[in-house]
């Protein structure tokens, strides 16, 4: 068999490849219980992707939850050492309300977290690992990278109303430039004042195209420090082979109460939603009383089941034997086919519920194929 994981689902294959990738960069595996005290999530509800949490009362009377998120648990259970760098990876199931189905679902999630002393090297390494994670999925991919601090600076200079800031951030996430203009007009802001934000949202593409224009904009708007951070982070891709996969795109937005700095999302061709999401979440660390900095991302392998070849048969060959056939000879014949890389279902009678690419009968010690397609 060419690939030892050929029988695995695409999700399982990706999860295995990611674990190997992260371990190769010295990230330690992190295992955790399925349960966590509900209190942790009730205090940071906005950080969760969905509102719903499955809760139950433990035997000691504590309200527990089936964990809807991994990052919060990792932070809670880690020591706050801003002078050291801790690198962890996980591959866990989380329990969330699916926005589409409106019901709870068990969702596999693989990801990594780096916290403590998170310097420029660490940010670059995490970005590079995000790109490598998408490459591990297979096929064409795009990693969109943004700087939330830079985007929020442009928004904050327009208004100090929180609801309007949120509205503008939402428009940014939708690439909705006409929406930004409409909100600004409603708030009595002149088109000249909102122009830098619209200009920022229009900047989208490979770093080599976007960064020069961004530098000029940053200089005009006093956001040079944030632009320099973004430039430094993107430098991690130099000579990585991923230059064509990385784009600067300021429509990547996250909750600013938790995230700051570099944020990113990954897309794979053929999958309609983002399969990787992450960023720097120093603000979450502060809210949890930590001094450490942090960056991480999660890969959602669930939608990967929709790409690649969908299975159209249960096995390659259905080998039907006659009653009274020599079991040893039958086993040898089956092993021979399996050795050739075919999957073989041996049965005494054709099972109409099972679909195989080829049908064969075992008669007088011989395998006789009945046709190309079953």
């Amino acid at each position: 068999m060419e690939n030892k994981f050929a029988a695995a689902d695409p999700q399982e294959r990706v999860a295995l490849a990611l674990r190997e990738l992260y371990a190769g960069y010295g990230y330690r595996p992190y295992r955790m219980s399925k349960f966590e005290e509900y209190d942790l999530y009730s205090r940071h509800k906005d950080f969760l992707v969905s509102d719903g949490v499955i809760t139950f009362t433990d035997t000691n009377g504590k309200l527990m939850a089936l964990k809807p998120d991994v990052t919060l648990s990792i932070i809670k259970n880690s020591a706050d050492r801003p002078d050291l760098t801790e690198k962890l990876y996980y591959s866990e199931n989380v329990y969330r309300v699916s926005k589409r189905a409106g019901t709870f679902r068990e969702i596999p999630q693989t990801g990594l977290e780096c916290f403590g002393d998170v310097d420029g090297y660490a940010v670059g390494e995490v970005l590079l690992l995000a790109a490598k994670s998408l490459a591990a999925v297979g096929g064409a991919f795009v990693l969109d990278v943004s700087h939330l601090g830079l985007l929020c600076s442009q928004i904050d200079r327009l208004t100090d109303k929180e609801t309007v800031r949120e509205e503008l951030l939402r428009c940014a996430g939708e690439k909705n430039v006409h929406g930004v203009s409409a909100v600004c007009a409603r708030e009595g802001l002149s088109p000249e004042k909102s122009a830098p934000l619209c200009e920022l949202l229009a900047l989208s593409g490979p770093p080599s195209d976007v960064l020069p224009a961004l530098s000029a904009l940053a200089k005009r708007t006093g956001t040079e420090a944030e632009a320099a951070e973004l430039r430094a982070a993107l430098a991690a891709f130099a000579e990585s082979g991923f230059e064509k996969n990385v784009r600067v795109d300021f429509s990547v937005v996250s909750d600013r109460a938790y995230y700051n700095g570099i944020v990113f999302k990954g897309f794979v061709e053929g999958i309609p939603e983002c399969v990787l999401s992450g960023g720097q979440y120093d603000n979450l660390m502060r809210r949890m009383g930590r001094r450490s900095r942090a960056i991480g991302f999660a890969v959602y392998p669930e939608p990967l089941g929709r790409i690649g070849e969908s299975r159209c048969a249960d096995a390659d060959v259905m080998l039907i034997y006659e009653k009274g056939s020599d079991p040893a000879a039958l086993r040898r014949a089956a092993e021979k086919l399996i050795g050739r890389g075919e999957s073989v279902l041996v049965c005494p009678k054709e099972n109409p519920k099972i679909r195989c690419r080829k049908k064969a009968v075992f008669r007088d010690g011989e395998v006789i194929f009945l046709g190309e397609d079953a």
Binding site: E174, K175, H178, A182, E269, I271, P272, E273, C274
Partner: protein
């Protein structure tokens, strides 16, 4: 060669107007307007494949990637909040999302306001922002009947000319948001067909400003 772009158009009068915009922007497919029951139309030369879907389903087709781009009313986008890009306001199908009530309506704040609507999410969000307790009555159509028959105190619905309201002795008491047709795109599809989608969006924005 550029890849084929899948475009979800809303069935009905708005869809026909919108197709006219696409055609004028350089993406024609005359078969789209031919009478018949065909649902998918392709112009390989222009690189587009159109299909008609129920207006409220356009956002689902786009969000789930069955269509790369589509045209949906802002009312639908506000109600379902699909995770899509909103690339252009096409300036057609212009109306407004509003609260309407009988002319003699008095808001008795001692009890929950009964709101009849096809847009429960928009209505709930609107009143939650004001801290007003409401009882949402979800209806599928003829919303104007609800306050007349005493089923609700107010309605939240789209208002185009206000003629139906007027004929039923109702009036707009509050505007929630302006509504018009928007060009939307699947976020992932946009990453891999950027040039094609941006070309269409650019052309449509031009048409909108002419």
């Amino acid at each position: 060669m550029a890849r084929m772009l899948n475009v979800a158009l809303p069935k009905g009068r708005l869809g026909e107007t919108v197709y006219g915009l696409f055609e004028a922007a350089g993406f024609p497919c005359p078969a789209v307007m031919e009478p018949g029951r065909k649902l998918i139309f392709e112009n390989a030369e222009a690189g587009v494949r159109y299909f008609w879907v129920k207006p409220s389903d356009v956002a689902i087709y786009v969000e789930r990637g069955a269509a790369d781009i589509g045209v949906a009313g802002k009312d639908i986008l506000l109600e379902y909040e699909p995770d899509v890009y909103e690339l252009a306001d096409l300036g057609v199908g212009v109306c407004r999302m509003a609260v309407a009530a009988k002319r003699d309506f008095y808001d008795d704040t001692r009890r929950a306001l009964r709101v009849a609507t096809k847009f429960p999410h928009i209505a709930s969000r609107h009143y939650a922002a004001r801290g007003r307790d409401i009882d949402v009555i979800r209806l599928g159509g003829s919303i104007e009947l609800a306050p007349i028959l005493g089923l609700s105190d107010v309605i939240v619905d789209i208002v185009e000319t206000g003629k139906t309201l007027k004929e039923n002795d109702l009036a707009v008491i509050e505007e929630i948001a302006p509504v018009s047709a928007r060009l939307i795109a699947n976020k992932s599809g946009f990453k891999f067909k950027t040039a094609e989608i941006e070309r269409i969006a650019r052309q449509l924005r031009k048409k909108e400003t002419i």
